[in-house]
Amino acid sequence: MKSAVIVFPGSNCDRDMAVALEKITGQKPIMVWHQEYDFDKVDFIALPGGFSYGDYLRCGAMSARSHIMKEVIKRAEAGVPTFGVCNGFQILTETGLLPGALMRNAGLHFVCKDVKMTVENADTMFTNAYAAGEEITIPVAHHDGNYFADTDTLDRMEGEGQVAFRYAEDINGAQRRIAGITNAKGNVLGMMPHPERMIEPALGGSDGRKLFESVMNRLG
């Protein structure tokens, strides 16, 4: 599986993502700088965590309008599996590829800890290696992970299985404890927790590994 990690000024989980992808897929991903306009054809695009552009204006707002994102949006709309973690999730909502928005945590604190969450939909290309309802532990580290969408949007997403992951307990005020969502087509996933930081026992657990394995299963 060929993959790309998009790097913005202020990304700080790009290397974690690259290590996880290389270890699991056996292929080193290409690292693509935000000022590029194009990159090699890949099977998987990852938008890493961090504080791109210093979170100026809104988290992910500047990155979503960068040169490279025009190309990422084009490919995501054409069906290329696209995965945003933390700041990457914020960027995906800012581009409109995913519905809703990520706001300041309701408790106003930066939340940095391992959290339990459940796999709500195990039929997606990102979750098929998990069991439906499986409880997994993945770390979060964010200040703006409070997922918001209007009630109609939330109901529609729940109905169509777009809620991929849900926190076991409220940690940031997110509507319906939503931790991760896909787009309607199912090829774009955004989530606040960091599965790339939980890929082997040395890191404290390997619950994040199956997410990458799911994509490999699906791509064959």
Partner: protein
Amino acid sequence: MKARIHVTLKNGVLDPQGKAIEHALGNMGFDGVEAARQGKYIELDLKSTDRAAAEKEVDEMCRKLLANTVIENYSIELE
């Protein structure tokens, strides 16, 4: 021409920072504050001298970048 833009959270969207301000003011003894909402103020110096064109352009800037219309409203004043 100057554009003054206010970006505010939509009604019904929880504003934790506004809540914190409200509580702080209450703690300081300002009992008269019923609610606080926090927003952003953006000022632009525009080349344009055509008011209608400027209004249209700034509105587009707000929709495309300055505000996230999923959660925010904006208002524009030109002078």
